[in-house]
């Protein structure tokens, strides 16, 4: 059972880091890389186990069985990993590893790096915890670990005005959202007297009350904030440009999905899946998804700041994921719903890869040129061909061009939304058109006539190029076998998520 190590290794790594960094900069960097690499190994193993067996992996903290002695309900914290959780955990560990590798060179000019690496490992712990937990309060704790680490990391460069400004904005609004989530959890506990997701699902199914719906509203509202859905996306557009680029890559690639869409899907399917009218919930999510798609992508076109553009594009892509989840809920139990859900899961992974790549590219540009204003960046391709190539791949993947991975996931979402309701497919296509326009604009800037400023630029070092190339490779490889991945991994993951019964009985053992 490798599951506990998924948390203990990075947690130990983070706590040991202040001591390790007494031995100097090299030791600190090596330690961070080693810890994240080990975590990646464990995540791979967990994913392999769950994928091979096709069963939900359950781990109880402190005892053999989650059930209390002599009672038939769970009293302990359980960790519960289905295929979706395993995919997400693998994705987190991979992107975190790449981002840490990248940081070693990217963050070299900053001070206070022992705190930086400790925080980035804590961020990883928080996200992994959300991915694997089966307990609602435990989920909240991990959500806060993740959120607080990301507040601190957004404001990490506290000698810049924008870091502090974005950090405060993110923290104030984010704390409010977390409070909503906590309030929702408190309501649920008051009503049903349990915090275990599986047992709660059973209780809600047996006795769906108004309180449960209020709690769902509160929690879903908080989670939509964390995912950057449209009425509450404003923090994201500030936080991503202000954070160091390795952190932007993790924020945009992971945090908004783990703390947002993944948690929303987990809550909607695994906790409320049997208790409420999923069709209504689905349409509510679809409504926000459409708003997010249009506003996010449209706002991306008008940006002149490269990282802000990527941040708005992240908002737009979250719209696709939410659309997939929404259709998966609204068309629950049908083939269309399953395909939409698989598309959403697939797009989550794909977008994590490509947005991480794009932010790493942005980081390389900022690191080498000191500006992220697109008007000053004309003709980078002349002096930084590898970085520009990485950007080309990332942009083509995010638009969804066939030989790359973005195509298959977007296709699944288009196809299912067209079958579900052609109007939604039209909105999705409009969103993609905006997205294409935004990225082609950047592409023209990159490939155009070199400006004065650019002429002195050169490629960043290996520690920054290698992570980018790893991601490029992953994008291309995943793009070559899209239908195999979709058939073998994403569809089973969607099926497992839809099948609430197994999720519940994995903990309660048929009780």
């Amino acid at each position: 059972m490798m599951l506990p190590y998924l948390i203990t290794i990075p947690l130990f790594g983070a706590f040991a880091l202040p001591i390790v960094s007494l031995a100097g900069r090299k030791a600190r960097e090596l330690w961070a890389i080693l810890v994240s690499a080990l975590t990646l190994g464990v995540a791979t193993e967990v994913f392999r186990t769950v994928w091979k067996s096709g069963e939900v992996m359950v781990y109880t903290l402190g005892a053999e069985s989650p059930l209390g002695q002599g009672v038939d309900f769970p009293i302990r914290i359980v960790w519960e990993v289905d295929l979706l959780g395993a995919i997400v955990a693998l994705m987190i560990a991979f992107i975190a590893f790449v981002a840490i590798l990248y940081s070693t060179e990217y963050m070299r000019h900053d001070t206070g790096l022992e705190k930086y690496y400790a925080l980035i490992l804590l961020l990883e712990v928080g996200m992994l915890g959300i991915a694997i937990t089966g307990d609602l309060f435990n989920f909240y704790v991990f959500l806060e670990i993740m959120s607080i680490a990301s507040y601190a990391l957004v404001a990490f460069r506290n000698d810049t005005w924008e870091g502090i400004e974005a950090g405060i904005k993110y923290m104030f609004a984010g704390s409010l959202a977390s409070a909503f989530i906590l309030l929702g959890i408190a309501l649920l506990y008051g009503q049903y007297g349990t915090l275990t997701m599986a047992y709660l699902a059973k209780q809600i199914a047996a006795n769906p009350t108004f309180t449960a719906k209020v709690a769902l509203g509160l929690i879903a509202g908080g989670l939509l904030f964390k995912s950057g859905a449209v009425p509450v996306h404003m923090w994201l557009a500030d936080a991503h440009p202000a954070a160091p680029s390795s952190i932007s890559a993790m924020l945009s690639g992971l945090v908004i999905k783990i703390g947002g869409t993944y948690a929303l899907a987990r809550l909607a399917f695994s906790v409320y899946g049997m208790g409420i009218n999923l069709r209504t919930l689905g349409w509510i999510i679809i409504f926000f998804a459409c708003l997010t798609l249009i506003v996010g992508n449209a706002m991306a076109i008008v940006q002149t700041d490269m990282k802000r553009l990527f941040a708005f594009s992240s908002v737009g892509q979250i719209g696709y994921i939410l659309l997939g989840i929404g259709i998966g809920l609204a068309a629950y139990g049908s083939d269309v719903g399953e395909v939409a859900l698989a598309g959403a899961i697939y797009h989550t992974v794909n977008h994590a890869l490509m947005k991480a790549l794009l932010f790493l590219v942005a980081g390389a540009v900022i690191h080498q040129l000191g500006t992220k204003n697109l008007n000053e960046l004309s003709g980078i391709a002349r002096k930084m061909p590898v970085t520009s190539f990485a950007f080309l791949v990332g942009a083509a993947a995010i638009i969804g061009l066939p030989p790359l991975n973005g195509f298959a996931s977007k296709w699944l979402i288009y196809e299912s939304s067209a079958l579900f309701n052609p109007f939604l497919a039209a909105i999705a296509v409009i969103g993609t058109a905006f997205c294409t326009a935004a990225y082609i604009r950047v592409l023209f800037t990159f490939f155009g006539r070199p400006s004065e400023k650019v002429m002195n630029a050169k490629e960043p070092g290996k520690a920054m190029l290698v992570p980018m190339m790893i991601l490029v490779l992953a994008i291309i490889l995943m793009g070559l076998f899209p239908w195999a991945i979709s058939e073998k991994v994403m569809i089973p993951a969607a099926k497992m998520l839809e099948n609430v019964g197994t999720y519940v009985s994995a903990v309660l053992g048929g009780a």
Partner: protein, 329 residues
């Protein structure tokens, strides 16, 4: 084994289409010259041009980046890949259901690679040409896609084996519907496609991105030597492929059944017949159009696409759709 044969066939098709498309270039120049009472170059002039360009030194501008040299290669590669999905009198070699989207994508990608190559040159002339090409690219595909998808959707009611693939045109064609409404709709779409074809190969009204007299060759301003040769070949193939699409939709009949031929001989005869039809379509859309019309301004061209051609395409598609509903018998 099957894959091997398909690959060999693919190479043969590529060789043939390169030859035929360059040959058409010569015929076209001869025809246009005759229309203006000139002698014109010899029929094989494009081959001499191509060989000469290949032999010349290729000059890379100082401000150009890596993609400047890569773009022509990728453009030619894309146009070759496109041949695998092009109907050439018989079903495309690697055709499968839904390959229409791939076809449109690759066709658009060639234009996009031209744009990217031009932008990469760092020359302001090429930049302006690239912007124009991009605008035209965005404008011209909408009417074509609408028409193409409508026709393919109507063909589905015949019960085709691979829906939305290029091969369906050889199982059934749109004229078989036979109703007056569908006939009118199809004629409107034929007009739309002929104009689209002219804009795809950028002649007559739509010679805007290259605009020799105005922009000094626009997108191709900085290309020389073998890089230009690659682009020229890619463009010739693209013209052939675009015309093949029009031929496949509107004139898909083969002659091999009448001659009692099948198998490889049948394919070759159909390919030759298809080439004739392509030349005929190109004669209308390219040679005549080029000889009798001048260039439009970019704003006029965009207007033409969105206020004339797209509505025409919508009307044609609606007529076909109303026909499918059977409201008017």
């Amino acid at each position: 084994m099957n894959v091997l044969y398909a690959t060999l066939g693919f190479i043969a098709v590529y060789a043939y289409v390169s030859f035929a498309s360059l040959l058409w270039g010569g015929i076209d120049r001869k025809l246009v010259a005759r229309m203006q009472r000139r002698m014109g170059p010899p029929l094989l002039q494009p081959f001499y041009d191509f060989l000469k360009l290949v032999g010349k030194e290729s000059i890379i501008p100082r401000n150009a980046n890596k993609f400047f040299e890569l773009a022509p290669v990728l453009a030619l590669a894309t146009s070759i890949a496109l041949l695998a999905y092009t109907p050439l009198g018989f079903e495309p070699l690697f055709g499968t259901k839904g390959d229409v989207i791939l076809f449109i994508y690759l066709l658009t990608l060639i234009g996009f690679l031209r744009v990217l190559g031009a932008v990469s040159s760092g020359s302001p002339y090429a930049q302006i040409g690239a912007q124009r090409e991009m605008i035209i690219l965005v404008s011209r595909e909408a009417p074509m896609m609408l028409g193409l998808f409508t026709v393919l959707w109507r063909l589905n009611e015949f019960g085709v084996t691979k829906p939305f693939s290029m091969g369906t045109f050889y199982e059934h064609n749109i004229w078989e519907l036979g109703t007056p409404l569908s006939f009118i709709g199809t004629l409107i779409l034929l007009f739309v496609f002929l104009v689209w074809l002219a804009s795809e190969i950028e002649v007559g009204y739509f010679d805007i991105p290259e605009a020799e007299t105005e922009l000094a060759e626009g997108t191709m301003a900085e290309y020389s030597g073998r890089h230009l040769a690659l682009f020229e070949l890619a463009n010739a193939i693209k013209a052939f492929v675009s015309a093949s699409l029009v031929v496949a939709i509107f004139l898909p009949w083969g002659i091999s059944p009448y001659l009692g031929l099948s198998g490889t001989e049948g394919m070759i005869v159909d390919l030759l017949f298809h080439t004739l039809k392509v030349f005929a379509v190109l004669f209308v859309s390219m040679s005549v159009f080029r000889a009798v019309t001048g260039r439009l301004r970019i704003t006029q061209a965009v207007n033409l696409f969105w206020t004339r051609l797209l509505p025409a395409s919508i009307v044609g598609a609606l007529l076909l759709a109303i026909d499918a509903m059977g409201v008017i018998a």
